[in-house]
């Protein structure tokens, strides 16, 4: 099998797919476009047959690990099984072949689906209104923070600060900053935020507290209501990063905990595939007070008819051309309809059960920084193994030799050498037992023959890559 680049497999004059014959008069581009805007050549563009192209990409796919390939416990990313029927639903021609500018009377099905999905998400989260427009979780964070910014500006007292715990996902401070806020970090010693820590920094210049619940250590923020009260009393908002909603569906609603804005990550909680890095979808839910600031257009129902609504004078505007990642919404809708209320609750319960089971078994061999019941993910560290010079990275690489995708590593930053495991509810006890067995074997290896772990992976087609070289002399494209 050759893993050469497609450009290197190119042969001058070779053709791929056939192009239709012209059924209208042929014209010379020079007659209608000035010659100084016409291009001569596309240098280096591939010239391969259709079979060359198919083999090339199929071979590449075989060098990839996906949820369908094996266990993928990447913490915080919720790599659950992606039901196949959802893929079929998204490809129905009524959905996939609809133009965003076709008349609303031709888009009634799509608008109905979006309207209902907004309702489902409101119900699941306890929020009053939802927009489906943002294209991913971080896009949703930006949307939410821009809404808060627009609100404080409309009140005539623009507030500048946002409080974020140091356990937050990196996108949280980046999104706040992009929305024009200054970030104030609070340190998290005990795994969850204390009301005192929030009270000590909360002031009249603070627009919001941004937290994740369950948080990125996998713990529920038990004091959330008290914390929300502190923030609200000083006129601030509580933003909750809802990327970890997979632990809470049918169990508790963020809206009941004093949260004012959240984003959903449909590509996590609602089973839509991550596509090797997207597309995702990051709807935002808000309480009534922020509803006027939601992005346009909104989806409106009048009688039995649906339409797009643009008349929202307080809106932050538009975050994306057209409406949003509609194809992803169809998959999430299909998932929610397939699961129903009991199925969603069961999903959260089993996700949490799987995580606690793994934590309980692995804490015998790995350091567990916060020894308490976790939610849908657990965080271990390499503290024990590092005594033998075996580190988190080595453990992760060794897991590949046993056929598993490694967990998230070195995140959250507050746990040195973190190993963050999120099994999700779609994995069976047998799979999890095999993973636990592999982790226990690695712990043994780290003690008895550490070199095996440090030289991993040995079974993959490519070994550990030189990251430093890639940064020092960036090669970001092929050149002849």
């Amino acid at each position: 099998m050759s893993s050469g680049l497609i450009f290197e497999k190119s042969s001058k004059g070779r053709r791929g797919i056939s192009i239709p014959k012209l059924d209208v008069p042929d014209i010379n581009p020079l007659d209608v476009i000035p010659h100084d805007v016409l291009r001569a050549d596309i240098e280096g563009f591939p010239e391969v047959s259709e079979l060359d192209a198919v083999r090339h990409f199929v071979n590449l796919s075989q060098m990839n690990f996906g949820v369908d390939t094996g266990f993928y416990p990447l913490g915080s990313c919720t790599m659950k099984y992606n039901p196949k029927v959802n893929e079929d639903m998204a490809r129905l021609s009524g959905f996939s072949k609809a133009h965003p500018y076709q008349a609303p009377e031709l888009s009634q099905g799509a608008l109905q689906l979006m309207y209902e999905l907004e309702g489902f998400l409101s119900e699941i989260s306890g929020m009053d209104a939802v927009t489906l427009q943002p294209a991913a979780g971080a896009h949703g964070e930006l949307c939410g923070m821009l809404m808060i910014s627009a609100y404080v500006k409309a009140k005539g007292k623009p507030r500048k600060k946002v409080i974020i715990p140091d356990t937050a996902h990196g996108t949280n401070p980046a999104s706040s900053n992009l929305a024009g806020f200054t970030v104030v970090t609070i340190k998290e010693g005990k795994g969850i935020i204390s009301p005192e820590a929030v009270a000590s920094v909360m002031d009249e210049d603070t627009a919001a507290l941004m937290l994740t619940n369950p948080n990125t250590i996998g713990l529920f923020e038990t004091n959330i209501k008290e914390i929300a009260d502190i923030v609200h009393k000083k006129g601030g908002f509580v933003y909750c990063d809802g990327a970890n909603l997979n632990a809470l569906m049918g169990i508790a609603k963020l809206g009941d905990m004093g949260v004012d804005v959240i984003q959903f990550n449909l590509h996590k909680t609602f089973s839509t595939p991550h596509g090797g890095g997207g597309p995702g979808s990051g709807p935002v839910g808000v309480k009534k007070i922020l509803e006027p600031f939601l992005p346009v257009p909104r989806i409106i129902k009048r009688g039995k008819r649906f339409n797009l609504g643009f008349n929202c004078p307080m809106s932050i505007g538009r975050l994306k051309a057209f409406y949003g990642n509609f194809g992803i919404m169809v998959r999430a809708y299909s998932y929610i309809r397939a699961m129903g209320p009991d199925g969603l609750k069961k999903a959260s319960e089993m996700a949490v059960l799987n995580a606690n089971y793994i934590m309980e078994k692995l804490k015998k061999a790995y350091h567990l920084p916060f020894d308490q019941t976790c939610m849908h993910e657990c965080v271990l560290s390499d503290k024990v193994q590092s005594e033998k010079d075996v580190y988190t990275l080595d453990i992760a690489k060794r897991l590949m030799d046993y056929g598993f995708h490694p967990p998230t590593i070195y995140f959250p930053l507050v746990v040195p050498g973190a190993i963050m495991i999120e099994p999700t509810e779609t994995e069976s006890k047998e799979t999890i037992d095999r993973f636990i067995a592999a982790m226990m074997t690695i712990a043994n290896e780290a003690r008895e023959s550490p070199d095996i772990v440090k030289n991993a992976p040995q079974t993959t087609k490519i070994g550990r890559l030189d990251e430093v070289n890639a940064v020092k002399k960036p090669v970001l494209r092929w050149k002849p």
Partner: protein
């Protein structure tokens, strides 16, 4: 359907290991007053067969471009998607993977993105490209923010012939700083951005000038003259492309010394999908590499000297620099970037050139036939690729409605975006429009005019 494998016995055994009695004990950290007491108010679960029936019925309430003859473009294009594209993106090793944080078992995604980066550089004539943005509009907004990072100037000039929704998105991203945006009015005769207006608007506070190519009206802008003015003033020149098939024929923005080239890659094999998911592409000059938002794949070697690919230059990114990151983007549009790579590979060097030429011929046949109509005229004089504006001397919305009754999606009425263009519609013709389709459109327009 529950997609959950646990048997009652599994659950019992696992609870035993954890040392608790019941599943609800796992949630003891959640205070009782915020625990739900009743089930969620959602429709009951559906078995797969009923699910398919129900959702298919909803989809049938939608019209689509298979049921109509479509001349709508305006940032979302109806192009033929070769079978190979569907077959490969449906390989679940690709679509069920995530961001390639572990390169040894993600070489498929990584190499495909590296090839995508190369293809976009070749097409745009730029040095470097990232692994994708959400769409053309958000990529445009990020380009404006990048320009401000580069020269620390406050103001942005947007051509009013830049896609109206792209302009809105730029304003949203600038948030409270949206007052710093100025629009350069398009020329009502040519439909292009007047070079002298750029000169008039630009000054030492101008961070960047943003021009679409071909622009929202389909007009091909004079990038050469505009580029010169922009650079003389020390501003950043941003070129936006919504119909990248045009690059098969048109000189790449890089050849006009563009600093940042962004756009919409939907035309490269992604379905229309009612507006998403699409593909934002983002390319720039080598010198601006460290100011560029988004993820990048780089080439390197493994410990045995074997060539391999890896995410690189993460120091600019949110998980390291956090509040100082060049952008907050994390999940991007990876599968759409893969789609573009497959599509462009399948077309190849001659394919993209021929396809672009077919698009040009279809549009010019349409323009030719318009001459037969007395009251309908091309609105602007600039050269066009596969889109153009026509003036109907009659309310645009009314005409669109009448055409729809005849089974034609007759472009978009420009009234909603440009109130002064209330009798104008924007038409697009691609390789999907046969001569018959175009003839039918012309006949219907003739009929309308006789009424």
């Amino acid at each position: 359907m529950s997609y959950i494998p646990h048997t009652d016995n599994d659950i019992k055994e696992m609870l035993g290991v954890i040392g608790i009695k019941a599943v609800h004990d796992l949630f003891n950290a959640i205070p009782p007053d915020i625990r739900l007491k009743t089930p969620l108010n959602l429709p009951n679960e559906l078995p797969e067969q009923e699910l398919v029936r129900e959702i298919t019925n909803i989809s049938r309430k939608n019209g689509n471009i298979e049921d109509y003859i479509s001349f709508i473009g305006a940032g979302a294009y109806n192009h033929y998607v070769p079978s190979i594209v569907h077959h490969i993106i449906l390989r679940s090793e690709f679509y069920t993977a995530y961001t390639p944080y572990q390169p040894e078992i993600s070489q498929g995604t990584l190499q495909a993105i590296f090839e995508y980066q190369t293809l976009i550089c070749q097409l745009t004539g730029m040095d470097v490209t990232n692994a994708s943005m959400y769409d053309g509009a958000s990529a445009s907004a990020e380009a404006v923010l990048m320009a401000q990072r580069i020269n620390s100037r406050p103001e942005c000039l947007l051509s009013s012939a830049l896609h109206p929704e792209y302009r809105e998105v730029v304003k949203t991203y600038l948030g409270i700083r949206r007052d710093s945006i100025k629009e350069i009015p398009f020329c009502t005769e040519t439909g292009a951005t007047p070079v002298e207006a750029v000169e008039r608007y630009i000054d030492k506070d101008t961070a960047c000038v943003v021009i679409q190519y071909p622009n929202f009206f389909g007009s091909i802008e004079d990038l050469s003259a505009i580029s010169e003015i922009v650079h003389k003033n020390g501003s950043v020149f941003i070129v936006v492309i919504t119909e990248p098939i045009s690059l098969g024929l048109l000189k790449p923005p890089g050849a006009f010394d563009a600093d940042i080239v962004v756009g919409e890659g939907q035309a490269f094999g992604s379905a229309l999908n009612l507006g998403g998911p699409y593909l934002g592409f983002f390319a720039t000059k080598e010198g601006f590499l460290r100011n560029m938002p988004g993820r990048l794949v780089g080439e390197t070697i493994d410990k045995d000297g074997k060539r391999g690919y890896i995410l690189t230059l993460a120091t600019r990114e949110q998980h390291i620099r956090r509040e100082k990151a060049t952008s907050n983007i994390c999940t991007n549009e990876g599968l759409c970037a893969l789609t573009a790579a497959i599509y462009l590979t399948a077309l190849g060097k001659t394919g993209i050139v021929n396809l672009a030429k077919i698009n040009l011929c279809k549009m010019h046949y349409l323009r030719q036939r318009l001459k037969e109509l007395k009251n309908v005229k091309p609105a602007f004089s600039s050269p066009v690729f596969n889109e153009c504006v026509i003036n109907l001397n009659e309310d645009g919305d009314t005409v669109i409605k009448s055409l729809l009754k005849q089974g034609i999606l007759g472009g978009i009425s420009l009234k909603r975006f440009y109130p002064q263009l209330n009798s104008h519609i924007l038409l697009c013709a691609t390789e999907m429009n046969t001569k018959e389709d175009i003839d039918m459109l012309i006949e219907e327009l003739k009929e309308l005019k006789n009424e």
